[in-house]
Amino acid sequence: MPKYSLLFRKKDCMGCHACEVACKQEHSLPVGPRLVRVLEKAPDFIPIYCHHCAKAPCIEACPEKAISKNEMGVVLITKELCIGCMACVDACPFGAMQFFEEEGTAVKCDLCIDRISMGRAPACACVCPTGCIVYGQTKAILDAMVDG
């Protein structure tokens, strides 16, 4: 099965934060965990998000094997197995892994798995006004990046 990826083209991110709110809504998240987040270092904007790494440090760091990768390449947490030790939060090189205080577990981008399994793009990519959030088959995205 082909692998899928999400990629933010930083140069076209204008810091509108629509992706953040779309993500909160899609995952019914309160204030606290931010599965995607745009840092502002005016005039630059730096999107922080899960890269669903090929060799994911969060998976390796988890002592409970609560994090795994599915056949589409999506790195997922099995919430029931998470003990809230935050080893994955420390391990993530992108700062994308979040801790959900209310639930006492880690929480992360699931690439909007309910949407993508119906053939729809993730919520963040759908609302982005500059189209800087690209979703698709990993190979196609990487090829497109090479082409600019």
Binding site: G15, C16, H17, A18, E20, V21, Q25, V127, P129, T130
Partner: protein
């Protein structure tokens, strides 16, 4: 999933326009998605629109009418509330005349048709809006110059875009959102950005001109001078369609480029380069924003920019600045019954003799309202109805606004929350959000569309604003319709549609025609583009546009520089908020928890300020505190503050209105305002900054 209804509608979390699909379950909105079929937004949405559900179901939202009794808010019925307002208005009309009632709104929220209809049929000429310094001032200045507002025609394929003091992807989406701009830019249009801040677009630009705040008019004079001297203007257009070319040319050429460069801080080389790119790349459009209006140069600056469009042949040309053709529906101005306001009543418009352009577009500058309340001159204002506006936060000289509204004998407000302004009222009328209304939306905009905003849910006892004006109007004996939808049928009648039919279509677009002036001329007294304004001349004003140095700048007030060494731009907009709205929305406040003031790193170092520290910002009129954010994309002498801040989480009735409210610092004296429009100066004043060591 069958129990989820999906309703197509149109957002209004800012001025509105983006297409939305609302998911409704058991009568409750549970989720929003962008509508990919929307001609305005094509599926994209912003943070404000996406957070509407948190606003609509917010625990602080007031969802039934209330009356303040002995300082405490008490729930009452709609009948009681409307009777109280109507009886008070009748009493004022009998004793003082309808002009002693002020009707007001804030930013454009798509109910001006109904608000103005109510005011005009009431007989009061005193309508208070944001229009003196935002958008309507642009409309007014272009009306007298070229007959209509020329809008950047991104769909017509501009090859050059001048983004002048504007960031349509973040804010200020008057005619349309940033989507069309972005498409045109991505297709390879050259981009010239004029902005004191190096923002996202400045980084993208072929040329970025970092001007001194408030000097846009002087820069436009520089552009015009280069274009005239180099002979880069459209001679045929100028000969046939410009009124007053010779005196205009003479006025422009009387300035030296050295003066322009010294005044604007933009080098001569950059001015020449930018002017040449604009004049020689066809077609080219200018998209300009409120910072050019929120100064003493409001009207003149818009007239100078219109002159640029005209003499380069870009007016009403595809890809230039055009007059979009609206769809065949009843205009806002017709619905609003402006003609029903008698000349005698119109004559009584506060400040009407002085601010003739404001009067021409049927509004008053807030200053004259505050004066009438506080001094009783030229006659007293006794009662008011304010809808969707928070002037104690958003208007210049906030302390005066607060004092005046506190003193007003009777005030009713229409809003979602008890804002600092609403807390000063006697009656609170709960408005429906855009999820709770039926309307032919965007009819006021000049982008050639009307859109179907249709009701997705009902919440509490909230009524859409339109219904409030309608029911109150009927109580005042005015002619209205039985239902909101019947009024929409009336608006749609010329298109041969009913509201029910229009809802299914989703939108209507006017049939665009370019170069309409070739047959009809321009809608001005001379039928030409009046670079020499016969109207301003008739009003005894300078008929030619000019640049006036802002009254509180390093040049006009060098005496203040020792105490107030920095230039304050007091109007930074940020994407999560819309003016004073949204500070209580959890998802949005998480993104922007604090009011920010941008300071250049060198300046911060000099003042002992570090990123994230609280800072006092002080002008000759007061001081407020904001959080420092360092930005090396602004001039070291310039400080940029966010506007619109209050603290809904502070529960006393002031809600922290004067803690971080940048309009505590701004000025609204008559001499600081645009002489014909009454535009307040929100963009250029002098300030000092210092570390705030008090516990916050």
């Amino acid at each position: 999933m069958e129990d989820i209804k999906k309703i197509k509608t149109v957002c209004r979390s800012c001025h509105g326009g983006c297409g939305v699909i609302v998911h409704v379950k058991d009568g409750k909105a549970i989720k929003l998605e962008g509508d990919p079929d929307s001609p305005i937004s094509r599926g994209s949405l912003c943070s404000k629109g996406l957070a509407i559900i948190q606003l609509a179901y917010h625990p602080d939202r007031v969802i039934y009418p209330m009356q303040k009794v002995n300082g405490t808010w008490k729930r009452i019925s709609w009948d009681e509330a409307l009777d109280i307002v109507a009886n008070k208005f009748k009493e004022v009309i009998n004793q003082y005349g309808p002009e002693s009632i002020v009707i007001g709104q804030g930013t454009g929220r798509d109910y001006e048709s109904h608000l103005y209809r109510f005011a005009n049929l009431l007989g009061t000429p005193n309508v208070l809006t944001a229009g003196h310094m935002c958008y309507v001032s642009r409309v007014g200045a272009t009306l007298i110059t070229c007959g209509n507002l020329p809008v950047a025609d991104y769909r017509g394929g501009p090859k050059c875009i001048v983004m002048w003091a504007c960031n349509p992807q973040w804010t200020n989406p008057d005619e349309y959102k940033g989507i069309d701009f972005w498409d045109a830019y991505k297709k390879g249009a050259k981009l010239i950005v004029i902005d004191p801040r190096r923002g996202f677009l400045a980084k993208k630009a072929d040329l970025w001109l970092q001007l001194r705040p408030g000097t846009d008019g002087a820069l436009a004079i520089g552009f015009l001078k280069v274009i005239i001297e180099e002979g880069l203007y459209d001679r045929e257009f100028v000969e046939q369609f410009v009124h007053g070319w010779e005196p205009f040319k003479e006025r422009i050429l009387s300035h030296s480029l050295d003066w322009v460069a010294d005044t604007t801080w933009v080098s001569k080389e950059e001015i020449i380069k930018a002017a040449k790119i604009y004049a020689t790349t066809k077609p080219a459009c200018i998209h300009w924003g409120v910072p050019t209006e929120q100064t003493i140069n409001c009207t003149d600056c818009t007239r100078l920019l219109s002159a640029l469009m005209a003499i380069t042949g870009n007016l009403d040309a595809p890809g230039g600045n055009v007059f979009y053709v609206p769809p065949p529906v009843r205009k806002v101005s017709d619905f609003a019954c402006h003609k029903e306001l008698s000349p005698e009543q119109a004559k009584k418009r506060l400040g009407g003799e002085q601010y003739k352009l404001a009067s021409r577009v049927a509004l008053i500058t807030p200053k004259v309202a505050w004066e009438a309340i506080l001094t009783g001159k030229p006659y007293p204002l006794k009662a008011g109805l304010l809808c969707g506006t928070n002037p104690v936060i958003t208007r210049a000289n906030a302390r005066e606004a607060y004092e005046a509204l506190s003193k007003l004998e009777f005030l009713a407000v229409v809003d979602f929350f008890l804002t600092p302004t609403a807390e000063l009222a006697d009656i609170f009328l709960p408005a429906g959000t855009w999820l709770e209304q039926n309307h032919v939306a965007d009819n006021w905009k000049r982008h050639g569309f009307v859109l179907a905003r249709q009701k997705a849910v009902e919440i509490g006892e909230c009524w859409q604003d339109h219904k409030i004006f309608m029911e109150l109007g009927k109580r005042m004996g005015q002619k209205w319709w039985d239902t909101v939808e019947e009024a929409l049928d009336y608006i749609l009648e010329p298109a041969g549609l009913t509201w029910e039919e229009f809802k299914k279509k989703g939108y209507l677009q006017g049939q665009m025609e370019y170069y309409k002036y070739k047959e009809k001329g321009f809608s001005t007294p001379t039928k030409k583009v009046e670079l020499y304004s016969t109207i301003l001349e008739k009003w005894g004003r300078d008929p030619l546009p000019k640049y006036t140095e802002p009254p509180e700048s390093p040049i006009s007030r060098p005496d203040l520089l020792e105490r107030y060494p920095y230039i304050l731009n007091a109007g930074l907009r940020t994407p999560t908020f819309f003016h004073s709205a949204n500070r209580q929305i959890p998802w949005l406040r998480e993104i922007r928890p604090d009011p920010i003031v941008e300071i250049h790193p060198d300046t911060a170092k000099k003042e002992g300020i570090k990123e994230g520290m609280w800072v006092w910002v002080e002008s000759p009129r007061g001081k407020v505190r904001l959080k420092a954010r360092l930005n090396d994309g602004i001039h070291p002498q310039v400080v940029v503050a966010e506007h619109g801040w209050w603290y809904p989480e502070i529960k006393d009735p002031g809600h922290g209105w004067d803690i971080s409210n940048i309009n505590i610092l701004t000025d609204n004296s008559h001499q600081s305002m645009d002489p014909v429009m009454g535009a307040t100066n929100l963009r250029v004043l002098l300030c000092n900054i210092s570390l705030c060591t008090e516990e916050v």
